[in-house]
C-alpha cells in the first residue's frame, strides 16, 4: 500500500522535523530513516526531500551546515532549531488531535497497527 500524495505532503514536514529532533542528519539518512520507519510505505521521489529541507531552513525551522562524508564528499547536515522544536511540538498536538478523532471515527479499524500519522511523533 502506498500513501496518497496529499497525505504524504501533509505528513512530510512533521516527519522530517521529528527525525531531526533525534539529532542532526542529512538528506539520504533522513530518507533511509523514513523508509525504515514506514516499511517503505511512506515514500516519495528522493529529490523532493531537498526542496522541503530548504523550505524548512528558510522558515527557520532547521539550520544547515556543510560537512564531509566519510568518503570525503561534501554533505549538507540539517539540525532542528529552537523554533523548529516549537513548531514540531505544535504540529504534534495537531496531529494527535486528528489521530484521536480518526481513532474514534473508525473504532477497531482494519488492523490494529498504529495509525500511520503517529509517525510524526517519531
Amino acid at each position: 500500500m502506498r500513501i496518497g500524495k496529499d497525505l504524504v505532503a501533509a505528513a512530510a514536514t512533521p516527519v522530517v522535523l521529528g527525525i531531526l529532533a533525534d539529532g542532526e542528519s542529512y538528506g539520504y539518512a533522513i530518507l533511509q530513516r523514513i523508509s525504515d520507519l514506514s516499511d517503505g510505505e511512506l515514500a516519495w521521489s528522493d529529490g523532493m526531500l531537498y526542496p522541503l529541507l530548504h523550505r524548512l531552513e528558510r522558515l527557520g525551522h532547521v539550520e544547515s551546515e556543510w560537512r564531509q562524508s566519510p568518503a570525503g564528499r561534501p554533505r549538507k547536515h540539517y539540525r532542528l532549531s529552537a523554533q523548529g522544536a516549537t513548531t514540531l511540538a505544535e504540529q504534534r498536538r495537531q496531529w494527535s488531535v486528528i489521530g484521536g478523532v480518526l481513532d474514534q471515527v473508525w473504532p477497531g479499524g482494519p488492523d490494529d497497527r498504529h495509525p500511520r500519522i503517529a509517525l510524526g511523533a517519531g
Binding site: G27, W44, D46, G47, Y50, P51, W66, R67, A71, P74
Partner: protein, 471 residues
Amino acid sequence: MAPDLTPGVDELIASWRDWMQRRDALSTSDIVELEGHLRDRIDALATAGLTEDEAFLIAVKRLGTIDELSREYAAEHSGRLWKQLVLADETGIEGATDVPSGGLPLMRRANGLAVALLLGVGAGIAVKAADLLTGDPELVFRNIAVLVLPFLAAWFAWRRRPPLATIVGVAASFAVVALALNLYPFDGGSSTVTVASQNSATAVLATIGSIAALWLVTGIVDAGGEWRSDRARMDFVRFSGEWLVYYVLIALVGGALSGLTVAVFGSIGVDVLPFIGEWVLPCGAAGAVLVAAWLVGAKQRVIENIAPVLTKVFTPLFTIMMLALIVAAVVQWNLADGSRDLLIAFDLVLVVAVALLVYSISARDPELAPGWFDRLQVLMLAAALVVDVVVLVAMVARTGEFGWSANKTASLGLNLILLANLAWAWWLQVGFVRRRVPFGTVERWQTSYLPVYLGWASIIVLAFPPLFGFA
C-alpha cells in the same frame, strides 16, 4: 561502503550534473547536495550487489524526473527564475564558499568589480582633471574618447591579458589620436577660451570619429590582440550592443537620481545643481562607461543578451517605417527636396539598419534553417537600400548647390560605406534565405567590414581637419 567508484560512474554522474546545471531553479550547491545523495544511494545499491551502472540508473530514477525536481526547487526558490543582477552573484559566492572545497564544480563567476570601479573612478578623475587644468569644456569634450577609453582598454587588458605588442599598438593609436585632436589648429587656433562657442565642423567630426575609431581600437584589446578572428570581432560587437543598453539604463537612473537630488536639496533651500552639473555628471558619465563594461562581463552567462531582443522587436517596426517612407516619397515625390540634414538623417537610418542586422546575426543560432525573420530582414534591407539610393542620387546630383563641406563629405562617405555593406549583406541574405549561402558567410561579411568603419573614422579624425582647413 565502496567509496572508490569506477571512472564509468564518475562520467555518468558528470553528465547527470551537466543536465542539472541547465536548470535555473537549481543552484550549484543544490546540485552538490543532490550529487552527494546520488552517490550515497549508488554506494548502498552497489553494496547490495548491483553493478555500478545499474545502481546509477536506479539512483537517478529514485531522485525523480528532472522536470518534477526542478519544479519543486522552483516552487521553493522562485527568485532564482528571475536571474538576479549584482546581488545574486554575491549570494552565489557566499553559497559557494560554505561548500567545502572537495573538487566542487563551482562556476567561476566573472568578478573584478573592484578593478572596474577603480578604473571608473580613474576615468572620472581624468575627465575632471582635464576640465580643471584646461578650464576649457570644449577641449575636454573634444578629447572625451582619449580621456575615457584608455580606462576601458585598461579594463580589457586586465581581463584578457593581451600580448605586449597589442598594448603598445593600441597605446600608440591613442597617442596619435590625442596628438591630432590637440595639435590641429581647429578654427584658427585652439587657444580660444570662449566657453560655449560652437566647435568648428571638423572638430566636431574629429570628436565623433575619435570616439568611433578608439572604440574599435579598444576592441582589439578585448579580443586579446586576436583582432583578425571573426569570433573575437563578433564578441566585441556583442559587447558593444550590451554595453550600450546598460549604459543607457545607468544614464536613465543616474539622471533621475540627480534630478531627485536637486529637487530634494532645492526644497530645503540648498542649490546643488552646480555641483551635480560640474562634478557628478562628468565623473558619473565617465565612470559609468566602466561600470557598464563590468556589467556586460559579469552578466555574460547569467542574462540573455538584450540587444538581440530589441532587434527582434524593432526589425518589423523599422521595416514598416521604411516601406511607409517609400510610399510617402512616391506620393509626395519630393524626397530630394529635403533639407541639408537629409543625408545625416539617412546615415542614421542606415546605421539602424546595419545594427538591426548585426545584432540579429550576433544572436542567431548558425544551425537554424532560414525562417520568417530572415525573410523579413531581406525586405528590411531592400527597403532601406531603395530609400537610400533615391536619397543619394538626389543629393549627389545637387552637390553643386550645397558644395562639398566637411560635414557633407563625411556623411556622404559614411552613407556610401553603409550602403555598400547593406547591398552586399542584402545579396548574401537573399542567398541565405534561398539556402545557397551558408550562415557563416553572412556573419563573416559583417565582422570583416569592421575595419572599414575604423578606416573611415581614422580618416575623419586625421585627414579631414587639414583637408578642410580646420574650418
